[in-house]
Symmetry: C2
Subunit: 340 residues, 2 copies
């Protein structure tokens, strides 16, 4: 009988639960809203109901290995407590893992959402042939995760992978974290919209201004749509995104010399608009990259080279994520499989 596990992507908005077979095939996925306002107990109820439904349905076909949960916050890996989670108010410092374990009677592993996304891309996505990978997730904020020797690198207190708060402009935009010039201020969806409003305020962006005034939900996607239509102001914003990512990726390449770096999250849909600037910065700012760059990094960016001949060429690959919003779900499901 094969094994399976349950992965949970517990977001501030969406709650998704999937049963995944150990070879990586999806058995079933349940998508719910996260009823954050009803409080922690309601959300845990919803989650446990869905997990129990899936467990009951598949337990005669396969053996359950456990439950993995990706959480938007900092996890204390020893105690299974959430240390901090701005998107899950009231969840900090409560014994979430042991509570869920008690409810479900099976092993539960919690991890950070950006970590499990990296783990998912490593298992089944863009980095599936590699043991070492760093992933940046460009969403409302910028998250990150590192996998070394096939395992999530947590660091001393579970805070590794905070790439979104690496300084790219020492005197730059003020960040919510208190620093100036964090990557998150230039490469998140929030940042794209802010930079668009700045360009509009400067009176230099007619098309952006028109798009913003017609659209009460003016978004990074709207800026991208203008960029692919050739609007120079919109294109400039994505060059700024790419330049900022390039500075941080150069620091990571110089420090860790990993074989592959994956860019995921909603903003990665604008890959065509920002990735040329990434490669330009990398070539200038990292001798390590220059010495190991593929001859055509943009073609590698499709993930093609990740499929063929990994490592043999010993090239540094910078590429888009392949699993979209499912990366975290698969990565979470993978947690109990490797923690045997």
């Amino acid at each position: 009988m094969p094994n399976f596990s349950i992965g949970v992507d517990l977001g501030g908005t969406n709650l998704r639960i999937a049963a995944v077979e150990e070879q990586g095939s999806l058995l079933e996925k349940i998508s719910l809203g996260t009823r954050v306002t009803l409080g922690r107990d309601h959300v845990i109820n919803d989650m446990c109901d869905a997990v129990q439904h899936l467990t009951a349905k598949y337990k005669d076909l396969a053996t359950l290995e456990g439950i993995g949960i990706g959480v938007p916050g900092i996890i204390d890996m020893r105690t299974g407590m959430i240390r901090e989670s701005p998107n899950l108010p009231g969840w900090a410092d409560s014994p979430v893992r042991s509570e869920i374990e008690k409810r479900l009677g099976t092993r539960v592993i919690l991890d950070n959402d950006a970590n499990v996304a990296a783990f998912g891309e490593k298992w089944l996505g863009a980095a599936r042939n590699f043991d070492d990978v760093a992933m940046l997730t460009l969403g409302t904020g910028v998250g990150g995760g590192i996998v070394l020797d096939g395992r999530i690198w947590h660091g001393m207190v579970g805070m590794a992978g905070e790439f979104g708060h690496i300084t790219v402009e020492p005197e730059g935009q003020l960040c919510g974290c208190g620093n100036r010039g964090c990557l998150e201020q230039y490469a998140s969806a929030t940042a794209v919209v802010r930079m668009a409003h700045e360009a509009i305020a400067n009176g230099e962006a007619v098309e952006l201004a028109a798009a913003a005034s017609n659209n009460p939900e003016f978004s990074a996607k709207a800026v991208y749509n203008l960029a692919i239509q050739g609007d120079e102001s919109a294109r400039r914003i994505f060059r700024h995104v790419g330049r900022s990512l390039g500075i941080v990726l150069a620091a990571l390449v110089n420090s860790l010399n990993l074989p592959i770096y994956v860019i995921g999250g909603g903003v990665s849909s604008a890959w065509d608009a920002f990735s040329p600037s990434i490669f330009e910065e990398l070539r200038q700012r990292s001798m390590v990259y220059a010495a190991t760059a593929p001859s055509d990094p943009l073609s590698d960016a499709t993930g093609a080279s990740a499929k063929v001949d990994p490592g043999a060429g010993r090239k540094t690959i910078i590429t888009r994520a392949l699993l979209g919003s499912d990366a975290g779900l698969y990565g979470a499901a993978r947690l109990p499989m490797v923690a045997r």
Copy 2:
């Protein structure tokens, strides 16, 4: 019978060879000049003579485990060839390891000099109670090394730890590597002297100008001497050193969340002058640091906290190296001991 090994620190100027017992005590050290201009074969001869002298002398007292050699360049760990070494002209792409192995009839391990310095500090120095450490070596340039789970982290092609070329000022000083604003341009001995000449040229540094004109070998040490005498121009230069180190350390803390980061190399003698700026930047630029900072980071800077209660407090320690120029020698000697 105890074990011992031979460590070699092969620099562009000095060639040092030491016999070290497996508990870390020094049996004997030989210091020579590196006769680079006479060519590779002469230097290898000098090195092998010294190694054979030490081997013959101690082989009846202890069992030789092998030879470790720290080299200022990029090593291909698979082939034992030097890929690139600006300070050892003519050494690149030659089979150095196998040649020395043949000459000495024992196992030889080559590694990068900054890597072995980190490994030495991890074994016997400031990081001796930790399995995970990053070290920055501030000399003529800025080198770096990472130890994870007790082993040197080489990365894909042996180029990990190039902290000196992380960008701290995107539009800053041009670096020899082709990038602008590399850490090396603000935190090396070369950079300290350059910044002093810049201050003199601006007419804002009377004391520095006097010191420079009286001294044909005006050095980073001379700038430091003025700084500790209270000269504001000299102090400003070391604040710039500390700020630049703080930006890079914040990136490393945010990315890797290691328990300890060690600053070594000649410039680290000016620790008092630049370290306060490091901690100031770290607190601003790294939430991870802010969440894990010791209450008095400067007192930890003596290495005291590294001796007591490592990890238990789960604090991020930023500290001076303890072994001085011997770090690389001890680290090199350690290589064959752990590669059993």
